[in-house]
């Protein structure tokens, strides 16, 4: 449980990985897609986005490469790695379990 003490961080990692499932994106596009997918509910503090990206890259779950963005600019493009995909699946299962449990508790009251 110690690893999940920082729930928010774990969640942000999960969300970033999820956005990359559909294909490589650069930093801004990731934040944009997070907003879209959550219907603007989740506005990730962009400041924590980049450290998180670095951390995920460091862990080897995503890979970064300088390339050209759809807007035609030079940008650092992030891709989900095989490790990242595996990790996402695992985290997703955990998250489902966790959210179901929270739901359960909330329903009970």
């Amino acid at each position: 449980m110690a690893e999940r003490a920082d729930l928010l961080q774990g969640t942000l990692d999960l969300l970033i990985l999820k956005t990359l499932v559909l294909g490589p994106l650069h930093g801004w596009a990731i934040s944009k897609r997070l907003r879209q997918l959550s219907r603007d509910v989740l506005d990730v503090g962009q400041g924590s986005l980049y450290p998180a990206l670095y951390r995920l890259e460091d862990k080897g779950w995503i890979a970064a490469e300088w390339g050209t963005s759809p807007e035609g600019r030079r940008a650092k493009i992030y891709t989900l790695t095989a490790d990242g995909r595996k990790h996402l699946a695992a985290e997703r299962a955990e998250w489902k379990l966790f959210s179901a449990a929270v739901d359960q508790v909330l329903k009970a009251t």
């Binding site: 930093g27 503090g45 962009q46 924590s48 450290p51 670095y54 460091d58 963005s69 030079r74």
Partner: protein, 891 residues
């Protein structure tokens, strides 16, 4: 694994190229803000400026993210250290004088300490150049209440070899098997050692050439083989490989050379030269006809077996063997002790070396104190900077770390310098050390010494940096910013600096005493009149082999021929045969009741121990022993049975106090066992052992008869003043070689060289101690200078007022110098107390000098105080030149 490598690579990249990563991050952030701005313009219809502002707000403080990002890189602390280092370099560059002084001080301190440590390491800690040195032991022998002896009997070693299992191998070691070796047509003397065949392999020493010994070499009837020592091989055989298989005559027996052993093996034999190696085993000993020969034993313990356990095992085996031979008295039963092979050697100077090492540590301590003081002074100048940094939120721990990084930069530089100084010091020691300490030939900067040097650097950093760092950061912010710390606080700081200087002076004083006393002792030894004239006296040793010169006719002919030819050399005044060297203290002496025929002691026999020598008539003239009364022997004395003798002054005074001894008679023993009456024909000066005052004994000289010439073992040659002694020596060697090349020359040297070698160890240690003490005084003077100079800059204001109010130059100088001298006085008193408490430890090293020698105890305080005067005079001069106008305007 690959992942790990990749991550490590990224960390390293992050450490060395933080700029590149920061630039990448900047670019990413810029893009983010731009895209966000465009997005906002598009979706919300904002103006570019508004959109941009909102995008920035949405992003938050850019710097904070950068920091968070860097933390995520996981190199934060390393970056901080790098930052500290950069900062330290910048701030040190601003005070080059301080840096140079500190680095030099530390370099000297660390340099001498590593030098002396490597000597201690070589002589005491790791004296054996073998991979398994910890497991090599000498099997020594100790009878109840007696001194440890390295001689044991071969039957014990054989018993242990058979039954003990704590050892990988037990070897016999017979150190006296060398002799006369014929190389080509020439004979040389080759000291040799015999060992059991397994020893070299057990020590891990491989022959340079050929093979080592095998057990077949010691079987009865096996061909006789020997190994050459490296020095003999290189010196006499030019290092040629075809020496293997050659036949060599050792003591007139033929041996075959089967290998060459490296020089490092001489460690087994107290570092005495070993020119040839022979194999030995119980079989050869029996073969030589000795079942219980005295030999030495060397063992190599099995890994993991303790010395105690092995010793116990040997004791049990020893007791069993003793018991099997019937009952013995308890006192006759020896105990076996396992000791280091150098135990009998290093004991000679072990105490002195540790004392020396202690002294160098004190010097290092003074060096650290000096640097700490300099740091304190510098810190005072930086009080403002530190205060500002505290105000800006730097924590105390952070500041202490910053200051420690500065200290470690200084110690690091000093340490590098110190290793250079140490390297130089070691070169000085290897080229210039007393000959008896042969192992110092090979002393060097090895792994252990370097590791020790690094430990010293760390310790130096902590000692010289921690106190100042702590002290500096404890100043109150407001005071420092106001620029004038409260008086009490300033006084506290000065008191700390003064205490450090006082301690330095005290330590220097102590070291000066510890060097001064041995120096006085050395001067005393040099001043001793040995009773003969060493300058112009040569001593040549010759070994006349019994086999070639079996009777006195032939021996006599040989010596006569030599004397004639050497006597004819230009510059030679006289030549006599010698039976022993002058410097040998343990000369044959006889003890017994001696009776004088007349005079005050007539009829009252006294017990005397008298040194006896048989000498030719020319002996006294050749050696320069002064004839005080009477004459030397006449040809009649030498031919006949006339019982005449020459005695020394001490004996004459003992037997006939106050009257002339010439013509008087004395005899050994009392009737009915009395010897014949002996008539004294001459009295000569006392001859002492060079360099040892008070060692004069009673001496008598008997005439050297024709039959005594076979006992001769060399020549004494007196050369005229101004003749080249070395030139005559080489001519003598040529004569000896041409007369009979098969007679080996055992030694050829000048008496002056022997004298100076005899004083080698005291001279060596005195020079080292004096160097250290001088260094300590110099460092203490630098420390004093620093503190006084700093005090002057602190007091510029006050001094300006004094001068403005009419104080004269002299008054101001006196004020400043007075401060310095006061510190020196307090330090000297403390040093004096410490010296008086510790000089008793030096007593063993002193000859003819009292541990409280007045000369030393007057000269040293004078020296220390005049050094202090000089050190405080320089800042005093500056103080006297303070311009009151400038000094007062500075506020």
């Amino acid at each position: 694994m690959r992942k790990l490598l990749r991550r490590a690579g990224r960390r390293v990249r992050a450490l060395f190229h933080p700029g590149v990563l920061d630039a990448e991050l900047d670019e990413e952030i810029r893009l983010h803000v731009e895209l966000e701005t465009e997005d906002l313009m598009r979706t919300r219809g904002l103006s570019r400026d508004d959109a941009r502002r909102q995008a920035m707000v949405g992003f938050g403080g850019v710097e904070r993210y950068r920091e968070a990002q860097r933390d995520a890189r996981g190199v934060r602390w390393m970056e901080q250290i790098a930052q500290d280092l950069k900062y330290a370099a910048r701030s040190l560059r601003m005070s080059p004088g301080f840096v140079v002084t500190s680095v030099l001080t530390i370099a000297l301190g660390i340099g001498v300490t590593t030098t002396v440590y490597s000597v201690v390491n070589r002589l005491i800690l790791h004296p054996l150049p073998f991979a398994n040195e910890d497991r090599v032991v000498l099997l020594a022998w100790q009878y109840r209440g007696q001194e440890l002896s390295s001689w044991i009997t071969s039957d014990q070693v054989v018993n242990w070899q058979r039954h003990a299992d704590s050892f990988e191998t037990i070897s016999m070691l017979d150190p006296y098997v060398g002799g006369r070796v014929i190389v080509g047509h020439r004979a040389i003397v080759a000291p040799g050692t015999a060992v059991s065949p397994g020893l070299f392999r057990a020590l891990g020493v491989k022959p340079l050439l050929g093979r080592g010994f095998v057990s077949a070499d010691t079987a009865a009837g096996a061909p006789r083989v020997l190994l050459l020592g490296e020095a003999l091989w290189r010196g006499e055989f030019g290092g040629r490989p075809d020496v293997i298989g050659r036949r060599l005559s050792l003591n007139d027996t033929a041996y075959t050379v089967v290998g060459v052993m490296p020089e490092q093996l001489i460690a087994l034999r107290d570092y005495q030269p070993i020119r040839v190696w022979l194999p030995v085993s119980s079989a050869t000993l029996v073969h030589f006809g000795a079942t219980m020969q005295g030999i030495q034993g060397v063992g190599i313990l099995k890994p993991g077996v303790s010395r105690d356990r092995a010793q116990q095992e040997l004791s049990v085996l020893l007791n069993q063997l003793m018991a099997s031979r019937g009952p013995t008295r308890k006192a006759d039963e020896p105990a076996v002790r396992l000791v280091k092979p150098t135990a009998f050697l290093s004991g000679m100077f072990e105490t002195g070396l540790w004392a020396l090492f202690g002294s160098t540590l004190l010097v290092l301590l003074i060096a650290c104190a000096n640097v700490a003081n300099l740091q304190l002074i510098r810190a005072a100048r930086r009080a403002e900077e530190i205060a500002v940094r505290t105000a800006l939120g730097a924590s105390r721990g952070r500041l202490v770390r910053q200051l420690l990084v500065e200290s470690s930069v200084l110690s690091g530089l000093g340490g590098i310098g110190g290793i250079l100084v140490g390297w130089w010091g070691l070169r000085a020691i290897t080229t210039w050390h007393p000959a008896v300490v042969r192992q110092l030939n090979t002393v060097g900067l090895d792994r252990r010494v370097l590791a020790f040097g690094i430990v010293l650097i760390v310790v130096t950093t902590l000692i010289s940096g921690l106190v100042p760092a702590w002290h500096t950061t404890s100043w109150r912010l407001a005071e420092a910013l106001r620029g004038v710390p409260k008086l009490g606080r300033m006084r506290g700081r000065r008191r700390l600096q003064s205490a450090v200087v006082i301690a330095e002076i005290g330590l220097a004083f102590l070291l000066l005493v510890c060097a001064g006393l041995p120096m006085r002792s050395l001067l005393n030894m040099l001043a001793v009149d040995p009773g003969y004239e060493a300058a112009g006296l040569l001593e040549v040793g010759v070994w006349l082999p019994q086999a070639r010169y079996p009777d006195s006719t032939r021996q006599s002919a040989y010596w006569q021929a030599i004397i004639t030819r050497v006597g004819a050399l230009p510059g030679v005044v006289s030549v006599v045969t010698a039976t022993s060297g002058m410097l040998q203290a343990n000369h044959a002496s006889t003890g017994g009741n001696v009776q004088a025929e007349d005079g005050p002691l007539a009829g009252k026999p006294v017990w005397l121990t008298i040194e006896q020598r048989r000498v030719p008539a020319d002996y006294f003239r050749t050696l320069g022993i002064r004839m005080l009364a009477g004459r030397t022997f006449s040809p009649t004395d030498e031919r006949g049975n006339a019982n005449v003798e020459v005695i020394n002054r001490s004996l004459a005074q003992r037997l006939w106090p106050g009257v002339s001894a010439i013509g008087k008679r004395f005899r050994w023993g009392e009737p009915p066992y009395a010897g014949p009456w002996i008539t004294v024909v001459g009295v000569v000066n006392d001859v002492g052992v060079a360099g040892l005052p008070g060692a004069i004994t009673l001496q008598e000289y008997k005439p050297h008869g024709a039959s005594d010439i076979g006992q001769a073992s060399g020549l004494f040659v007196r050369v005229r003043r101004g003749t080249s002694e070395v030139g005559v020596l080489s001519s003598i060697k040529d004569i000896l070689r041409s007369l009979d090349p098969q007679v080996p020359i055992t030694s050829a040297t000048t008496e002056s060289a022997l004298l100076s070698a005899a004083l080698g160890i005291p001279r060596f240690s005195t020079v080292l101690l004096t160097t250290l003490a001088g260094l300590a005084l110099l460092l203490a003077a630098v420390g004093l200078y620093g503190v006084i100079a700093y005090a002057v800059t602190q007091r510029t204001h006050e001094l300006g007022i004094r001068i403005a109010l009419g104080a004269r130059t002299g008054d101001v100088s006196r004020l400043v110098v007075g401060d310095g001298v006061r510190l020196a006085l307090v330090g000297s008193v403390i040093g004096l107390a410490a010296a008086l408490a510790s000089v008793r430890l030096l007593t063993g090293l002193l000859v003819d000098v009292s541990p409280t020698d007045p000369v030393v105890f007057i000269a040293i305080p004078c020296g220390v105080l005049s050094t202090a005067l000089l050190a405080s005079y320089l800042p005093a001069r500056r103080a006297a030149r303070v311009d009151p106008v400038i000094a007062l305007r500075a506020e």
